[in-house]
């Protein structure tokens, strides 16, 4: 099974730059030209969110860019630069300061090529273990052993420093099913049992893991919750590699990524095929052979997988959705406002289609576009056809499914969706169907904890937003949002299953095991996460704005009677004692250290009041209209939503 991911990252200087695919470094002549153009207005440094930008002068930065010497302060600033691009639009002469920074990054070594502090390394080692012993165990891990060319020791030392080594006592839970976690755990010594919760709530043993095996790759790569519980059977030495370190390793050594992707998707594809009614009765060896002949492709959001014109160019293969949502459309006749798109169906993980057709039975092509991040497996027809002849019931099930798709397509016909809203009201059927499909098309069902307001109860007192502001210093929610029936889906983080915002090279956004996605104290407010969020649920605020302003006595006195005083109760707990999570940023309090004082901007988003015992908005609502809920539980599963008629 092969896989492909659409970004280059062959160049080590591009580590941590997944958000800038296709970026091109400037040639030396271009660098000199841009530096000559610079007028030294310093606007780029003022716009830069990196705290060190306050202490970097534009003259020193320009000098370092064009001369062989890079002073340590400029080197530190260059390492901190996240290539957010905020420096570009403010430049009055049109310089590409971000690309100039990239040229500096290329000249500096990748941090993992630098020396390792031996004392820091020694302090991470467990008792009775030497660094060389640990390194030798790490080197035999399949994901490291499979790397070509091999991973140099220097990179492994840095990986060890960035990771957590701990010894789990017998009976200790190393990984819990249902928790969210973004680390990959390698077993360096000892044995673990792997189990899953069965239908009756009992633990079903799955496997025994030995030294040299790893677990948690699904969560580390896809952000999904853990699918099994791992318990130590004996003292187990575990190397817990956090996601940023794993991503750095994968970016420096793409073969490690390919290995992990191949193994992960082979495992999930096997379990998916076994669960699918279509493939019931097919022998395991045949399934494994099928999996070995497949190809996985990853797509980002809103990417066209198939265009209608591609139908005849595509090989006759079956395409199976591993995860994510896509919409199947067909263009209508050109009208006064251009070609309108007709949404024929939505498909999710476990669904499939053939070449450019969606099995609608009319042999007409369709276009397929992703709604969320999606991985699609291509199974060539040449691989399927022997299975059809060996398993006649498989062929029959395909035919039956084909018929059901046709019926569902007719029932789910949504009509034209013109680009411009016409003055007349839509028909009741169209209206209700469109509203329901908004839940799928706009990704509401992707969330795990969505904030909704029952408009039949809401008296629009705005207490929810004000309570959020009181607790956090800046409101993390906005009552405006899409309205479906009597429910308003508020603009607040939905804690997506697969959060695309969690792409921070500074670990500025993280996820608690219980699922809350939160902003950490490492955030510098560069805005990359806000750009990536497809629902505009992340806001970047100036720190000066985020902190409560100092007010006069009269202001406080009058505010006491108009707005009241005090905050909602909810004791803040220390986050997850015993679990290594970055500390949660609290903008309601003034900074206590020099770094905090230099912070210019910060990202603000709802984190379900992580660390508190309740949610301020829900507690403050006097009518009980505000509710945090799992969308599948509240609105129904995707199949239920899509099968409802208007």
């Amino acid at each position: 099974m092969s896989s492909s991911k659409p970004f280059p990252l062959a160049n080590a200087s591009l580590v941590g730059l997944e958000h800038r695919p296709g970026i091109r470094a400037l040639e030396p002549e271009e660098v000199r030209f841009e530096i000559d153009m610079c007028i030294g207005c310093n606007r780029c440094m003022q716009a830069c969110p990196v705290p060190l930008s306050s202490s970097v002068s534009i003259a020193d930065l320009n000098a370092a860019t064009t001369t062989p010497t890079i002073p340590p302060s400029i080197a530190a600033f260059t390492h901190d630069c996240v290539m957010c691009g905020l420096c570009v639009p403010v430049c009055p002469v049109g310089d590409h300061r971000d690309l100039l920074m990239l040229s500096l990054k290329k000249r500096l070594d990748v941090p993992w090529d630098g020396p390792v502090d031996p004392l820091s390394l020694l302090s991470t080692l467990p008792a009775n273990w030497t660094a060389e012993q640990v390194l030798s165990r790490v080197r035999v891990q399949p994901l490291v052993a499979a790397a070509t060319p091999s991973v140099p020791d220097q990179h492994l030392w840095h990986l060890l420093l960035a990771s957590r080594l701990h010894v789990a006592a017998p009976g200790e839970v190393v990984m819990r099913e249902g928790d969210f976690g973004h680390s990959l755990s390698c077993i360096l010594d000892g044995n673990c049992s792997l189990s899953s919760t069965g239908p009756n709530g009992t633990l079903v043993p799955l496997a025994i893991l030995h030294p040299g095996e790893y677990l948690g790759e699904q969560g580390a790569l896809t952000g999904q919750s853990r699918t099994a519980t791992a318990t130590a059977l004996s003292p187990v030495l575990v190397l817990e590699i956090p996601e940023p370190a794993l991503h750095t390793l994968m970016q420096l050594h793409p073969s490690v990524r390919q290995f992990l992707m191949r193994k992960t998707h082979a495992a999930s594809l096997e379990s998916m095929l076994k669960r699918m009614a279509l493939f019931q009765g097919v022998a395991e060896e045949d399934l494994r052979h099928l999996i070995g002949m497949t190809h996985v492709t990853y797509f980002d959001r809103s990417v066209q997988v198939f265009a209608e014109e591609d139908m005849n160019r595509r090989p006759p293969s079956m395409y199976l959705l591993l995860d994510g949502f896509v919409k199947v459309t067909r263009g209508s006749v050109r009208g006064t406002h251009g070609i309108s798109e007709r949404i024929l169906a939505y498909r999710q993980g476990g669904d499939y289609f053939v070449a450019g057709m969606d099995l609608l039975g009319d042999n007409r092509p369709v276009a397929v576009t992703t709604i969320t991040r999606t991985s699609i497996v291509e199974i060539p027809y040449a691989v399927l056809s022997p299975l059809f002849s060996r398993y006649p019931e498989l062929s029959q099930r395909f035919q039956a499914r084909f018929e059901r798709y046709r019926e569902a397509a007719q029932a789910a016909h949504t009509g034209s969706v013109p680009a411009i809203r016409l003055p007349q009201m839509p028909s009741p059927e169209e209206f209700a169907r469109t509203s329901l499909r908004t839940l799928v098309g706009d990704g509401v069902v992707e969330g795990t904890d969505v904030l909704v307001i029952d408009l039949d109860r809401c008296v629009h007192c705005n207490e929810c937003e004000e309570a959020c502001t009181r607790r956090h210093g800046h409101s993390r929610m906005n009552r405006t949002g899409m309205v479906v029936g009597n429910i308003s889906v508020v603009t607040a983080c939905r804690q997506c299953q697969d959060p695309v915002c969690m792409l921070c090279s500074r670990a500025g956004i993280a996820r608690l095991p219980s699922g809350e996605v939160y902003i950490t104290e490492s955030c510098i407010g560069c805005g990359i996460c806000a750009e990536r969020c497809p629902y505009d649920n992340i806001e970047i605020v100036d720190m000066a704005e985020a902190l409560p302003p100092t007010t006069s006595t009269w202001d406080r006195f009058s505010r006491f009677f108009v707005q009241g005083a005090g905050k909602e109760y909810g004791r803040k707990h220390l986050p997850m004692a015993g679990v290594a999570t970055p500390p949660i940023l609290d903008v309601s309090k003034p900074p206590t250290d020099a770094y905090g004082l230099m912070l210019k901007k910060v990202a603000v988003k709802c984190d379900l009041c992580a660390g508190y015992g309740n949610q301020a908005c829900v507690v403050a609502c006097p009518t009980g209209a505000v509710l945090r809920t799992n969308p599948t539980t509240f609105f129904g599963s995707t199949e239920e939503i899509l099968s409802r008629r208007g």
């Binding site: 028909s427 209700a432 408009l455 109860r457 809401c458 909602e568 609502c621 009980g624 509240f634």
Partner: protein
């Protein structure tokens, strides 16, 4: 959660049906109702038992009835605690809606217990709304009426909240945009769109747009004479203007509903302040001297 489809209005079959998801009511609604019913039932039985051997000439609010005044005052204080929780003592436990249900049910029975205290004087008999009568009995009748009126205003408020919240919900569902903040933003975008469409056009086009924006409602007639290359943008402007008009109507409906709910709150709070003052006056006049005597501060 239940799912239902409900027509928006039986009188407006052209409006699309709304898909309803029901958020379950807090359990505190049941608990406080039950507690209030049990409390009032107990107090009423006790009242009947105490009044068995009381002379018909007993002055209302005195003798065995006086204890119910204190009970009503305590219940009133408990009901008032909601305001403290909502505005000043937010650190008190429980959700705001639990406190509101407490406020509603306890507030209702505080008025009923006050009627027990007055032995229904000035309610079922001896009804006299003249000022001397209201101020008689240490301003007892006035405080009783104020409390009953306050409770009734609360009932009206609940009905208004339910009714107008649904008006706003219906508008938000059908206007294609949402709540007033979203509608205002959309209207601004549409007006900017109209400005962009009229930019660089002939004087007739721009004047027509200007008149259309000034006169909210139907488009001015007749349409201006336009060059052929302006026709497409003109049709587009008509569509955008129709959208804007529809949203303005929806916004005015929602704002009116919000305003009514806000006015009710102002009236209810004002009435509550007045009631608290009158009740305190009544308690002060009626019970003050006796209390001071007991404390040996008065002969």
């Amino acid at each position: 959660m239940s799912l239902a489809t409900k027509p928006l209005s039986p009188h407006r079959p052209d409006l699309p049906p709304r898909r309803l998801w029901t958020v379950s009511v807090s359990k505190s609604w049941w608990w406080w109702l039950l507690l209030s019913i049990v409390t009032y039932a107990g107090m009423h039985l006790w009242f009947l038992q105490r009044m068995r051997h009381v002379s018909p000439h007993q002055i209302p609010g005195t003798g065995p009835m006086s204890i119910f005044g204190w009970l009503s005052l305590a219940l009133m204080a408990l009901a008032t605690a909601y305001t403290l929780r909502r505005r000043y003592l937010r650190m008190l436990p429980g959700q705001a809606q639990d406190w509101l249900w407490m406020h509603i049910w306890v507030g209702a029975i505080s008025a009923l217990v006050a009627l027990l205290h007055a032995n229904y004087d000035h309610i079922f008999y001896n009804i006299n709304l003249s000022l001397p009568s209201l101020l008689s009995g240490d301003a007892g009748p006035l405080s009783g009426y104020a409390l009953v009126l306050l409770a009734l205003s609360g009932v009206v408020g609940r009905l208004l909240d339910r009714g107008y919240a649904r008006v706003m919900s219906r508008e938000a569902t059908t206007n294609g945009v949402g709540i007033p903040q979203a509608v205002e933003r959309r209207i601004t975008e549409l007006e900017a769109m109209i400005e962009r469409l009229s930019a660089g056009k002939s004087g007739a086009f721009q004047q027509y747009c200007h008149r259309a924006m000034q006169e909210s409602g139907t488009l001015p007639a007749p349409s201006p004479p336009l060059a052929s290359q302006e026709q497409a943008d003109f049709h587009r402007m008509v569509e955008v203007f129709a959208d804007r008009t529809r949203l303005l109507h929806s916004l005015s409906q929602q704002r009116r509903a919000t305003q009514i709910m806000r006015w009710w709150r102002i009236a209810h709070i004002t009435l509550a302040i007045f009631t608290v003052l009158i009740v305190c006056l009544h308690v002060g006049i009626a019970a003050g001297p006796g209390l001071l005597r007991r404390l040996h501060l008065l002969h």
